[in-house]
Symmetry: C2
Subunit: 602 residues, 2 copies
């Protein structure tokens, strides 16, 4: 293998190479990516496919003067290598120096912090407009994949780009895949464009008012250099449609495009495989949910499960095959998904939309207008990449799901704490609720009713036959003086707090599992007033707009103190969970300390 | 004129007519619409244009078995007339019996309650999927205008429709207009389709995988009957592209498509014209904002004002003409608008996005991810169709803007109470803030600093030179025992409450204008503890997630009672403002009563 990369630390270095060196450089980079991802895990397929396109972009354009906007930015590893961050990919000691996404704080070559899909064209349109207002003349380039192109925001961006008459270059990276296979009508005409070498007159980009170029081999770096050079400084918007191999260079990722989209570190992957073989791998919530939904599907032809292009391990290929027409992948189109489940419910179907809460944010208006206002029966199973107060990229935080859904009138929002509750709530929502229900899927490890440190007081067992009467708080431990209301995934933390209150302050505290956060159980709250002076609320997400503030507001005229625990109003970026718990004052120590000082002040 | 309509009260009655009677019936209906709207006001142009299409749909299809979904549903008057609600259009005594939008509670012929744009295709896709799951075979029809087609949700729906292989009929009503002129690349290719009688191969519907029919004269009811009959019971999705005259039958609405989209009652219109002539019309916030923004534009080429197809009277044609390239209408595309202003700000421009809060809901994720997370300078001027606690359609409520923006970290959210504050904040945000700022435009009538019943205590005058130091609460009246925190538009109500507290309870209360709701002014809140036992918060919107709950939470461990006043968690539908104030316990009487009983309980 050549050794060109050692001399390349910036786009300027890159430009010193001969163009016929670029294929070899690309292979070197691909090799670096494979090695690094095998250790750190990360977006494998998307990054391997765009090595040549990235090299060509930086060879032709003058970043950061020229501005490249990476859609989702899970394909930005090569870009990072070429823009001063090579060490984070070549030196294991620095593997964790950079994030997996673009990040302006890392480099002026990164325009935006991006992790959601379909934003690049709109942001690039904005950069171009800002440039024009300021009288400058740099190139603005949006780089977007075909999977992202099903997103409403991307269409809106394309439509607006088509109305401009100024420099804007949209590189459309067509690898034929989203995370999972693409779904949507446009993918038929994209296939026709590929089949006709870009010649077909059935061309959605032209129909959106855009100029168009086609590159059949988007991994041919010299060809890409030619085409990018031909559109540099163009005076109107143009789409450069390039066809690339997702996962190129990894036999596994090329073959299994979906699994290869994102890879675990080899070591972790091997451990899981070993555990799987040995049968020691405990079922996780993905598996529990998956099995339950498949059973519902088998017993009732009206049940249908939807995903917006993130089936993940809860809805794996085997699930989809068995579910047949009772599974729908709408593509990356959360707005559509929420409107569609409203329609399905209205027409007599029983829809379940499984979605990460960070992506459900795309459908805030649809949750209110298209679904909740209609009152149609539908279930949203809202999970996350990570729980709320937990280490996570700032673009995928699970901290906002509860507050977001809580501000929407007409949704019944549930937060189960155990697997029995989760399945009981799901069963009720699918078969009996007759209205829109949001269920927050626990994310902090499977808890069964049997795992609870103490037998719940009232009701003693949750889950079996969950019904309307259960839309109320559950008393897990009956005590006095202090009541701890621990929502959903925070229940086990609540037990810890109760234990520490006993151990350190001698208080026999009450522990409540609220189960529902869209409405207050005022009967229970009123009852608590009799024997309690302090009420604590703990939730796994943003405090503002969340569960606890409502409790504080409700008790505003009462003689009880309320302490709300939850995430601060911020979007942390890869901060360790322990550090966040500490920062938010949510550790057991801190909470008990608060109670102690509050009692001391009385 | 014929008298056919008197015998038509349902789709069944309609089907008894000969098809050659349908043109005459359509003219009768048009006549009814013109008369009724001249008295009640309402969506004029959109309804006049689709009379024939609606007649033809109900002549051919069998609603409510066949399901028609009206996009936005501001074109559903003829549909209402033909489905049992004729009296609400022919008898002045019943003019207010029905809403201006579809409403399932009014009739089984209405599938959804709709007032936001671009939802029909997705909802129809859902109805079709639900039908298939249940094994039925009715037709599902989405009726959508060209103006709605720039909305991301509509594109997502179209893309998903294109992937289906079952009955779905999309009637695409192309009148060449949104509320204002259309903006976006697709409108070029739609023009080409019209110019080629639908023959052009540049056809976005086909590119989305859909079958296609074209009707050049969409006001030819007999032709429409033929085409609709030809697609009835079709086994795959099809688009029927019909070209109609917006405003047909009203000389004014045909000529001025934008003004004619929605009409005031003639009487009100005439009064305003008279006042305008006489120079007695006081400037409203639209005019005040408009003049200010125009001045900013004239003085700074970097300032740009954006709208998402709702320029309304704040950005009238005269404004747009003067602003030139410093005005952008992105079409109905709020997601794009928010992402674009982030890009504009990043590139050095000074964007101001004027938007109704009910439509800004479409961009919740973009507010968080594309804008706030980036921290790029941009101004969102968030107004409303109506204030929060006020009579409004359930699809256009202004009650959620504060809570929605409040849950998003990284936005500086301001709620001015006077016109001087509004302009001061705007000026600061555009020229100095260097971060994303949301300004809630007051909606309850123009208040000037000079109108305030008492001279503010600290700072004495707001507005001139608003700056960072002003991101804090403003003390309007200094008192003791009770502090009233009245946000934005609620300031004048706060004065009323303070006066009543004095008059009825002899309390010299403190009055605070918070000005900012995205963060607490903890210094002021702490100070209030010294001399106050009760803190009241009043805000013009939903309590959950709003300003007040945060105050209650902050004071959770303090010895002060907090009473939050704001809207209940509900979406009221055309409930009179007074009734809402009463329902929410927000009248001066109720608030003072609460204080009285709380003091009595001490």
């Amino acid at each position: 293998m050549t050794d060109l990369l050692s001399e390349v630390n910036s786009p300027d270095d890159l430009k010193k190479l001969n163009r016929n060196d670029l294929p070899a450089l690309s292979e070197e980079i691909r090799d670096v990516l494979l090695k690094r991802i095998s250790v750190t895990g990360g977006h494998l397929g998307s990054n391997l496919g765009v090595v040549e396109a990235t090299v060509a972009l930086h060879y032709v354009f003058d970043s950061p003067k020229d501005k490249i906007v990476w859609d989702v930015s899970h394909e930005s590893y090569t870009h990072k290598i070429l823009t001063g961050r090579k060490l984070a990919f070549t030196d294991p000691a620095h593997y964790h120096d950079v994030s997996g996404y673009t990040h302006p704080s890392e480099s002026p070559h990164d325009q935006f912090t991006v992790g959601h899909t379909g934003t690049s064209i709109s942001m690039a349109v904005g950069l171009a407009k800002g440039r024009d207002l300021c009288g400058r003349h740099e190139n603005v380039i949006a780089f977007i994949g075909d999977g992202s192109m099903s997103e409403g925001e991307a269409f809106e961006g394309l439509d607006n780009a088509g109305a401009m008459s100024t420099n804007l270059i949209i590189v459309f990276n067509d690898n034929g895949w989203a995370i999972a296979p693409n779904h949507g009508g446009i993918y038929k005409s994209l296939a026709e464009l590929r089949a006709t070498n870009g010649e077909s007159e059935h061309n959605m980009f032209k129909d959106f008012g855009l100029d168009y170029r086609y590159v059949a081999d988007g991994n041919d770096v010299e060809k890409l250099v030619d085409v990018f050079a031909s559109v540099k400084d163009i005076d109107h918007p143009v789409v450069v449609h390039i066809v690339t191999d997702k996962g190129r260079g990894s036999a596994w990722a090329e073959k299994d495009k979906e699994a290869g989209h994102w890879a675990l570190p080899d070591k972790v992957y091997d451990e899981i495989q070993t555990e799987r073989k040995e049968g020691t791998l405990a079922p996780d919530y993905d598996q529990i949910t998956s099995e339950f939904l498949l059973k519902k599907i088998e017993h009732d032809p009206k049940v249908v499960v939807l995903t917006a292009a993130t089936p993940g391990s809860a809805l794996p290929p085997s699930f989809r095959e068995k579910a047949g027409k009772q599974f729908v992948d709408v593509g990356i189109a959360e707005q559509h998904a929420v409107a569609a489940i409203s329609g399905i419910g209205k027409a007599g179907g029983k829809p379940v939309f499984e979605v990460f809460n960070t992506f459900l944010q795309r459908a805030y208006d649809q949750l209110q207008q298209d679904l909740a206002l209609q009152g149609n029966p539908a279930t949203i199973l809202m999970g996350g990449i990570a729980p709320g107060v937990a280490r996570c990229d700032n673009t995928h935080s699970g901290a906002f799901g509860i507050a977001m859904t809580n501000t929407i009138p007409g949704l019944t929002c549930l937060a189960p704490a155990t697997k029995e509750e989760l399945l009981g709530m799901l069963d009720w929502s699918i078969d009996h609720a007759e209205r829109p229900v949001v269920i927050v899927r626990p994310l902090r490890g499977v808890v069964s009713e049997d795992d609870l440190p103490l037998a719940p007081v009232d009701p003693p067992f949750a889950g079996d036959g969950f019904g309307e009467a259960d839309l109320s708080y559950r008393t897990m431990v009956r005590g006095e003086k202090v009541a701890v209301l621990a929502l959903g995934d925070m229940l086990m933390h609540g037990y810890d707090v109760v234990k520490a209150l006993k151990d350190r302050l001698g208080i026999d505290a009450t522990l409540i599992e609220p189960r529902i956060y869209s409405a207050l159980d005022t009967a229970t709250l009123d009852r608590l007033l009799d024997e309690h002076d302090i009420v604590l609320t703990i939730e796994d997400g943003e405090k503002v707009g969340g569960f606890g503030e409502q409790v504080a507001s409700y008790y505003g005229s009462a003689h009880v103190h309320v302490l709300n625990y939850g995430a601060n109003k911020e979007i942390p970026d890869l901060v360790p969970t322990d550090e966040l718990m500490e920062r938010y004052g949510m550790t057991t120590d801190q909470i008990v300390g608060d109670v102690e000082s509050l009692l001391g002040n009385e």
